[in-house]
Every structure is written in structure tokens, then in C-alpha cells.
Symmetry: C2
Subunit: 391 residues, 2 copies
């Protein structure tokens, strides 16, 4: 068996996103113990930076030792007891997954179905609720499977009318779209590291509001997952520093550096950067005659879904992009499999070089696969950048 020599890819799929050199470097720093005073300080700093990134004062804010899906499970296992009533907005893979996870916690789940590629409205949710109260309303802020950005304000209003806690999937929004847990009244949120934070996958930042903490404290039954039980894990992150499990030390170094870079850039500037470059990418895609899946006012800057043109072979195009250009873009999922591509501009990947690399590679590949682009994309891209130039 040989040592690994991974290729350098241009990561423009749905995540993992490109990882800055200083984050990769942080991963390789000397491992210390999980109760070492030095590591406890790293934990404190990570928690404080996460609170800033989430715009919250929530006490229960830290990364779980698993990937984004472990974050989703954390929110449900801690807040759901058998028989709890959960309303889930379903307009993509991750809403669908929330339904499944909530059911496995014993919840009575009501899905509110919306077309994949569209956002949810307050009215749709209230209609699905049918006048009944709910314990939890769960929605996806940034649907990575379709590229939809969900406005959270009407979701909070719906939750208020239902008497529900608001649970939000922010896997692809943290560090890329504006999110303010305290302002939006989000009660439970989970995210991942490998999207707009540009850290490798492996940790799942979560945060619980005071109301969610109270719900947790009032449980009649223990949390069904010992590994994800926040009442136990909070005591490792709190004053007691009680041993629960051995934290993923080096991944925490990586997240520390990724958060440092994120906050150093500034959250607002970072959000604006994602918007600017995705605007240019879309202009280029449309110039080539490609169709975007999501209506303009519901588009997620960091992930753009584009329809695969009639007669073009999904797998062949993506294989050629990877082979000839080292470029990864994502395929569609679920009902969109074979019908869409998903192009990510996340974190360190939201740059002009990424936009141009993607468009030029796609232009060459589509042409080679028999599709004739309408126009070359570069002039539309230049125009878009000119229009969006920061004042």
C-alpha cells in the first residue's frame, strides 16, 4: 500500500468546497489531549466564533462530532419525544431527510410538500398544519439539493401561529448567506463545515435557543442517542469539563482556522462576495443558453441548479469535466437526478477564477458532447462583474 497523493480538484459541487491552505495546515498541527488546558481554550474560542457566525448569544452553541447529518439528528433526537407533532417543509432532499429522521424519533410528522426548486410560503405551511398545533416546525434555509434560499421571517411567523419551535437546516447557509438566529427566532439549528466555511467535512455546528434548552430540560424520557445527547455534551463544553467522548482534536483545529478566516473577512462582506460571484456565474450560464432551475428571487447564491439540455448525457459531461479539467460539479438528486447539475460557489470557492474556470470548462465539454452553446459566456460575465462592482 502506498502513501496517498490526492489530486488537486476544482471543487464546485455541492460540497466539500475548496479548503484554504491555512485550514489544511491547521489540521496537521500536533494533536493534544481532549482535556488539555490548551484544547479547552481552543473549544472556548471555537464556540465564541460560532456564536458570532450564527449571530446568537445561545449558550448551547458548539460543533457536534459528526458531519452535517449528525447535526440534523442532534436537533431531532434532543427535541422530539415519541408522539411529538412535527411539521416539515419538504422541497428537496434535506426536507425529505428531516421527515425520516423525525419519524425515527417517534414523531408524528406532517410533511408540507412543495415543488423541488421552489421556496415555501407561510400560507402553505399553515394550510398543511390544518389548524392543528405543532411542537416543531422544521425547514431548510439553504436547500443544497436544489439551490433554493428560504426566507426565514415567514417561517418564524408560521411557527408562532402553530406554537412551535423553529428548527432550521443551515448546512449550506452558514458563512455564505445572512443568518441571525436571535433576530430570526431560530430555536435549533445545525450546519456543516464543508460548505461556506471551507473546512473539510467532519463536524456539525449546532445551536439551541433558551426555549429549545427548556424543551430539552423538560423531557420525560432520555434522549434516544447517547452520542448526541446535548444534556451530556453540554457538561463537557461547560464548567464541569466532564468527559463524554474524545473530541476530534485536529478537526477542531481546522474549524477554528476556518471560522477565523470567515470572521476576519466579515460576515456581510462574505455574503456579498457569494452574491457577486454567483450573479456572474448565472449570467455566463444563461449566455450559453442554459436554463436555471430556481426562480430568480428564490436562488441560493452558493449553489446554482441548472437544467441539463435535452440530449446531453449527464454522466459523460461530469466525467469529462473531472478528467480534462479536474473540475467537480454535482449531479441532481431524487426527482432531479439526471435532469440538473449543481454548481457550488462556496466559501473559498466563491471567486472570479472559479466562475471563469467552470464556465470555460463547461463550454468546451458541452461543445465536445454535441451541444452548441448560444454564446460564449465571457462577455456576459464581464458585464455582470462590472454591474456588481462594489462602490
Amino acid at each position: 500500500m502506498q502513501q496517498l497523493t490526492p489530486p488537486t480538484r476544482v471543487l464546485m459541487g455541492p460540497g466539500p468546497s475548496p479548503v484554504p491552505a491555512s485550514v489544511l495546515n491547521a489540521l496537521s498541527k500536533p494533536t493534544v489531549g481532549h482535556l488539555d488546558p490548551y484544547f479547552l481554550q481552543v473549544m472556548d474560542e471555537v464556540r465564541e466564533m460560532l456564536r458570532q457566525a450564527f449571530n446568537t448569544k445561545n449558550r448551547l452553541t458548539f460543533p457536534m462530532s459528526g458531519t452535517g447529518s449528525a447535526g440534523m439528528e442532534t436537533c431531532f433526537v434532543n427535541l422530539v419525544e415519541p408522539g411529538a407533532r412535527v411539521l416539515v417543509g419538504v422541497n428537496g432532499v434535506f426536507g425529505t431527510r428531516m421527515v425520516e429522521v423525525a419519524k425515527r424519533c417517534g414523531a408524528e410528522v406532517t410533511p408540507c410538500e412543495q415543488t423541488w426548486g421552489r421556496a415555501l410560503s407561510k400560507e402553505q405551511l399553515l394550510k398543511a398544519a390544518d389548524g392543528k398545533p405543532f411542537d416543531i416546525l422544521a425547514v431548510v434555509h439553504a436547500e443544497t439539493s436544489t439551490g433554493v434560499l428560504q426566507d426565514l421571517a415567514p417561517m418564524r411567523e408560521a411557527a408562532n401561529e402553530l406554537g412551535a419551535l423553529l428548527l432550521v437546516d443551515a448546512v449550506t447557509s452558514l458563512g455564505g448567506s445572512h443568518i441571525d438566529l436571535d433576530e430570526h427566532g431560530v430555536d435549533a439549528v445545525y450546519s456543516g463545515t464543508q460548505k461556506c466555511l471551507s473546512c473539510p467535512p467532519g463536524l456539525a455546528p449546532i445551536s439551541f435557543s433558551k426555549n429549545a434548552e427548556e424543551r430539552l430540560a423538560a423531557r420525560k424520557q432520555p434522549v434516544q442517542s447517547w452520542y448526541l445527547d446535548l444534556s451530556l455534551i453540554a457538561s463537557y463544553w461547560g464548567q464541569a469539563r466532564a468527559y463524554h467522548h474524545t473530541a476530534p482534536i485536529n478537526m477542531m483545529y481546522g474549524l477554528h482556522e476556518a471560522l477565523r478566516l470567515t470572521l476576519d473577512e466579515g460576515l456581510e462582506d462574505r455574503v456579498a462576495r457569494h452574491q457577486r460571484h454567483s450573479g456572474a456565474l448565472r449570467a455566463g450560464l444563461e449566455a450559453m443558453g442554459l436554463t436555471l432551475v430556481v426562480p430568480e428571487d428564490e436562488r441560493l447564491p452558493q449553489l446554482t441548479s441548472v437544467s441539463i439540455p435535452e440530449g446531453v448525457d449527464d454522466a459523460k459531461v461530469r466525467a469529462q469535466l473531472l478528467r480534462d479539467f479536474g473540475l467537480e460539479i454535482g449531479g441532481g438528486l431524487g426527482p432531479l437526478k439526471g435532469k440538473t447539475w449543481r454548481i457550488g460557489l462556496m466559501g473559498a470557492g466563491a471567486t472570479r477564477n472559479h466562475v471563469v474556470t467552470c464556465l470555460s470548462s463547461l463550454y468546451a465539454t458541452l461543445t465536445a458532447q454535441g451541444f452548441s452553446p448560444k454564446d460564449e459566456p465571457l462577455s456576459a460575465v464581464a458585464d455582470a462583474y462590472e454591474r456588481s462592482r462594489p462602490k
Copy 2:
């Protein structure tokens, strides 16, 4: 916020263990996508090396995306349905934890209590079983909280008499003690990366036998954890490569390198190395007048529990070891808290330099804290090495 500059520690606690430079370096290699053909090959190689390290042909063999405790939970959530009868050998923290985890899966748990610091016998287990059949017998191969190595052959015999699957915690034994899943008839096993494999924490290797797979396939209810559901995860590791969650790419690079180093050394040589250095450590500790907790024939080479001498302050000694020598050793847990120290010689940490560093630091610190060691330890250490010199 500044970039991290972690100190270089001498890691001789219960894990994490010292990480070789090439493993740290592997962590920092370029991130690729979780469906990238290159990464799929990394997964295949990791799985093949894990099978070798576990001595098994089990199809279901791979690392879970969490730490060792997630591995424990994986075994229980997949094999237990509500009402399942589980007999657990409890002689330390991790047996205690298995009881808790099994209960949260709805199991009817019968604990078989044994003094902390002692191994379990077949007779004790059968007595606790009281003539009743069981679905699962769960035991800890290497109890990290006490330093006991459990002989697995009588455990398999007990499981046979009970009609039970044998579930084994191998967190601290994999790569340090002989383990042969197929020979020992182990049906489900979990481990961690941060012990005798000398990789940072963050992944949990597991393996399920054919019998365990059949139990999983015959379930009436879905696995309560979506994140740890092996029937779903197996399809990402199998031909389908179906997306389940985004694998922790860089951690997998690290595990690949750690397994490569482990197998390159050879499992038998590695086990012998752990025995040789722990023999020398013990000789030195006893020369200084310290008492070992575990009887000689039940001792775990990679973790030695030593009684804290009367009048010596646990916290002060460990703080001075860390401050003056950068040396981490572990404190006792549960009923042994404040009563024992736990000294690890795991993976890359099982070397003569570690033994001598630990003994000399402990000698100086104990003396400074008012305890008079019986003898200097170095001559006993030299004798032990002489006696154990490989032929």
C-alpha cells in the same frame, strides 16, 4: 483571533496517542469530493486494510463518521430492537456506557458486574444470565478506564451457551492487542482511531459478521438512528455508492496512513512491541514503589493503571507533569477517580523513549510532591528490556 500554535505534548494518557508525522501530513492533503473516483479508491483501500487489522473477511467493515462512542452506538442501534435481551459485562466505564446505550435502544439489559480492574469469567456471565437466553452478549476487550485485557475465547463460549451474538468494544485493542474477529467469533465490533492506530480521534472502525448482518436484515423496525443506519451506509460503501452523508475526507486520509503504518510494521510485531515496552514501564513503576491496579495476567499492555500513593495529590501531580515536562497521563474515572493514574503506551507512543520520559518525569514530580520513591527506576527498566530482548 490568532492562528493556533498547539504545544507538542508527550501523550501518555488513555488517548489520543502520539500521531506520526506522516499521519498528520496526510490530514492536510487536498480535499476531494466524497464521490470522486479517487476518494472511492481511498475508501476501498481503508476497508481492505481494516479487514486485515481486524483479521476478518466481514463484508460490513468500515469506519463510521464519528468517534469511538459513535461506533458503540452503531453496534447497538443496528442490532437492538425494543425488548431485545442484552447481557453486558460491566467492569469499567465502557461497560457501564454500553448498558446506558443499550437501554436507550429499548433493550432489556442485564448487567454482569465485576470489580473494576478485573476481567470477567464465563462463569460470572452465565450466573448473571441465570439460565435465560440472550440476544446479545456485550463485553469490552480492552477496558481503557482500568487497563484490563479481556480474554475473548470464554466470552464466545458464554455467548454460544446463551444463543447470543457477541458484541465487542475494541477501541483500545485494535492495533495494540491480538484480535481476530473470525477466529474469536466476534459478531459486532467497534473501535477508535486515536488509540493504538495513532491517528487523531474522529472515526470509528466497525465490523459486522454474517450473523450480525442477518440480524440487521431481519429487523421489524427501522434503526432508530438514521445517521448510523448500516443498511443505508453499506450502500455508500458498496457498488451503488449511494450518497448518504458527506464522508470526513481528510480524516479518512489520516486513517489510511495510520493503517498503512500499522500493517507495514506487522500486527504481530506491533502487539509484541506494546507488550515489551509496557513490561519495562511496569518494572520501573514497581521499582519506584508504586502499586499496579490490575493482576498480572489480566493487564492490558497499552494502558497501565497505577494506584496513587497515600497523601499524594492527583491533580497537582498531573498538572506539574504537564507544565514541567509536557507529559499527559490520565486520571482515574468513576470509582477510581482520584485513586489511580492511567499511563498509555499506545501505537507510536509505545517506545523506550516514552517509557523513560514518563518514569523520569514521574520520579521528579513525585519527589517534589513529597513522596519518596523506593528506588530509581532505570536499572529495573534496563533489566526488563534485557529480559524481553527479541531473539
